[in-house]
Symmetry: C2
């Protein structure tokens, strides 16, 4: 250890101890990634496993980092589901990367609380800059960028982004119609919209009976129909209610369905709704010109968000939210306590991001996004996303070439929704049957198959149910995934299907 004579090595932030232990953890994590394929992807522990293994209370005396790391290896890792495993195909990806990790480390190391500009100017300014950078990469209209009097902010998750914009929309409306009308406001999504919309509406005090999950159908690949939306709105207006907010989704959670932003925004405009576009998953891929069309019409929206921590190499949490009218957010979310007053704020030349989000304290999240953008650049980021789409196509090909299986809804991005068919259930006729006895037993068959696959620990996928059909979701996106993992995954699916079809006497 250098310099140790100058430092109080008992200090919990002693630089040389930091160096020694920091290197130790880097090696621990590098070895973890090297060996990640040796772990079952889905943790196989039973509920309550950890309480049996850990002491009942905090130790009185210090324990060494070496001891704690050994416990991480022995007791924590068995309970970890390995989202970074190349054989992880569940939910949506949570793409880590070296650059994202490094940015997060710097942010943690500086440990600034960037509630307003003065508390750490770089934290605010870098955030505004990278939000403009990313907005341009997505070809967002200038009205969403700071350079066009809109602006972007990094939130933790889409749940926060939706709640913030909903509250802004609510207050903007109530300023016009009076707060006594709060109980009449209506929020719209589809039956495929993420549950965070309904939760946000509940939190914001929207009358629970004024939440509309408009039905979608397989015929339109589960996308929200502008006609259905218009009918729902008209019905509500006829009933004396006041349409407030529409959340359209680009890349729904179940099947990555794409709501038609352009025509939905026309409806929203006709009735004065705030339109938020939730592109949590699929927004990232819009940096590739061939995918950009899925957000065509975004110029008609009031706000737009995507999760960089999903499919953009930026570790959790990092939700990018752009708004056309920051003042609507600020009117609802600003606070101005004496202890935060300062000349920079008074000058109105700076952004104080505390007024753009739910919380006061905020981490220096832009560092990791800046690292990702610069260290990979536009070119490599596009390659990376395309490689996942191509691997999903590969898997889709496997499914379609095995006549025991079917792709349930057309693939749009890097998620394949598929299922095994009950023997004798013709591929063509399969879906049209609806929820017959046959359909129910096919659902059960797929449920069993998925459970069996996940229990193997070799692959982890999750499911959804759309239009009454249980589908397995194969979501390509783990940073370490390569073609060989997709090929192996398909073999695992086939082997478990073989075993179940035989044992169940199909």
């Amino acid at each position: 250890m250098k310099h140790s004579s100058f430092h109080n090595t008992n200090n919990p932030l002693d630089p040389e101890e930091f160096r020694r232990q920091g290197h130790m953890i880097i090696d621990f994590l590098a070895d973890y990634y090297l060996n990640i394929e040796k772990y079952p992807v889905l943790s196989q522990v039973e509920p309550g496993y950890l309480r049996k293994r850990l002491p009942e209370s905090t130790p009185y005396n210090p324990e060494s980092i070496e001891t704690i790391l050994q416990d991480v290896q022995d007791h924590i890792l068995p309970g970890v589901t390995h989202w970074q495993s190349p054989s992880y195909f569940a939910y949506f990806p949570s793409t880590g990367s070296i650059a994202g990790f490094l940015g997060e480390m710097l942010s943690t190391g500086f440990n600034v609380v960037g509630f307003n500009w003065i508390s750490s100017p770089a934290a605010t300014e870098l955030e505004s800059i990278v939000m403009d950078w990313l907005g341009e990469m997505l070809q967002l209209p200038k009205s969403f960028l700071f350079s066009g009097n809109g602006g972007g902010v990094l939130q933790g998750t889409t749940c926060e982004a939706i709640l913030c914009t909903l509250v802004a929309a609510r207050d903007q409306m109530l300023r016009r119609i009076g707060s006594q009308n709060m109980g009449k406001l209506v929020v719209y999504g589809s039956d495929q919209t993420h549950c965070s919309l309904q939760k946000a509406a509940r939190i914001a005090g929207i009358n629970p009976s004024n939440f509309r999950a408009i039905k979608t159908t397989k015929r339109t690949s589960f996308s929200l129909s502008p006609d259905s939306l218009r009918s729902a709105i008209c019905e509500d207006i006829d009933a004396g209610l006041i349409p407030l907010f529409l959340c359209a989704t680009v890349g729904t959670t179940s099947t990555t369905a794409i709501d038609p932003i352009g025509s939905l925004s026309d409806v929203a405009k006709d009735y004065g709704l705030w339109l938020h576009v939730d592109a949590a998953y699929a927004g990232s891929v819009c940096i590739c010109p061939e995918f950009r069309h899925v957000i065509d019409g975004v110029e008609g929206a009031n706000s737009f968000s995507l999760n960089a921590h999903k499919w953009f190499l930026t570790t959790l949490d990092c939700c990018c939210l752009w708004v056309k009218d920051p003042s609507a957010l600020i009117k609802s979310l600003s606070t101005n306590p004496e202890y935060l007053k300062n000349k920079a704020t008074d000058s109105r030349q700076v952004v104080d991001y505390k007024d753009w989000q739910l919380t006061l304290s905020r981490r220096f999240r832009s560092l990791k996004l800046w690292f990702v953008l610069r260290n990979y650049g536009v070119a490599k980021l596009r390659d990376f996303l395309r490689s996942h789409v191509n691997m999903a196509k590969l898997f889709e090909g496997f499914v379609t070439s095995d006549k025991r299986f079917e792709v349930v809804v057309p693939r749009s991005f890097a998620v394949v929704c598929f299922r095994v068919l009950s023997p004798g259930m013709g591929k063509a006729a399969s879906y049209a049957n609806g929820t017959t006895t046959n359909e129910a037993s096919t659902n059960e068959l797929n449920r069993k198959l998925l459970e069996s696959i996940n229990k193997s620990g070799l692959v982890f996928m999750t499911h959804s149910v759309v239009g009454g059909v249980f589908v397995m979701r194969f979501a390509v996106g783990a940073t370490l995934v390569e073609e060989k993992h997709v090929i192996t995954a398909w073999k695992v699916v086939q082997e478990h299907a073989n075993a179940i079809l035989i044992s169940e006497n199909y």
Copy 2:
């Protein structure tokens, strides 16, 4: 590089590249801590400084980490306010530590999204365990612990904790009295309560005119009087309103005032209010037996929170929230989409923390708290907190021994609220005068003094205004702080006071 032949070094998570670049960043941060005293504590940049220095858009081709780190050094660090500097005495501390940093790194490295148990059982189970551990250290009543059918959860910040509990309280009340009474609900705090309460009330749709900031006075050191609360409640009831929620504070932001939890909980009980105790700052020090009395009466509260990222060595963000009745939270915040359904949840043997918080996605925050608890142990954590209190006492002694200065409100923890007096303004009479012309000019003098001190870059303090008096806050708590820094800080205060008193012809 070992193993490089087995790995695709182009992969953004290549283990050996991770190792190389990870070590690089550790050294960068270790050197940062070594040199931290060379930087001005408060950043001295002008608004807009960074846009002038960075390119206008994302690079098309990758840039090396070495290049980016050089830019961090050259362009980011000048815009950082150094919260980890030992001469940082502003706001409240944001205490980093090696153990907290290591835990955050592991969490970032695993990058799991722990919304429910199955998504990574260790993330949920470790959180429940450490919340019980810390709850016991604080001698919280068993009814707040999992072992007593309550439970704890890690939120990002107190703002989230308050919003969650407020929404739970609101919905619990509305289930009883009907949602048409939403506009009648009243929320109570004091004029010293953190602004996050009013913001949470606004977000939750509480009628803005039904927010009560009850006046406090210097006579009771700005603590909330149970009698004033009772009067306010009775007035509201007489007006046909419905008291809902009280937020009491232990360690207010301006002066670390302590609301009397016990007698306030009696009032809350009499009128059926949900009582939340916000001990964001001072909660940590309650692990020291000599301070525990400040939360006496907490058994009468419904919920209790503290920010481990403030004064408990756990890097931002980490707010610990305990509730007696988790089902109240869950009823308001649960979602149950098909894609998250799983056998563990169905068995009701597990906690799904997504239903205890605003957002769905959540980081593995318990790792850092677990590292802090184990690596320092109860003994060292107490020593650490006590050392800060002692350094604040030292500073308080300096202030009282210089008759040009006064301590404005009695010190309770590690924050000293003080000011310089206008010459001729007798110490004893100073405060009683109220906001006379003299008082206004004293405020102006202190404002100038603080600005001058902060501009020096040697020390960073912030201010508040209480009872019309501008106070400088000296908040001891940076992890690296030692007595010598407190001594230097006092010298800086004196020097700048000397200069101003002379130049202003006092």
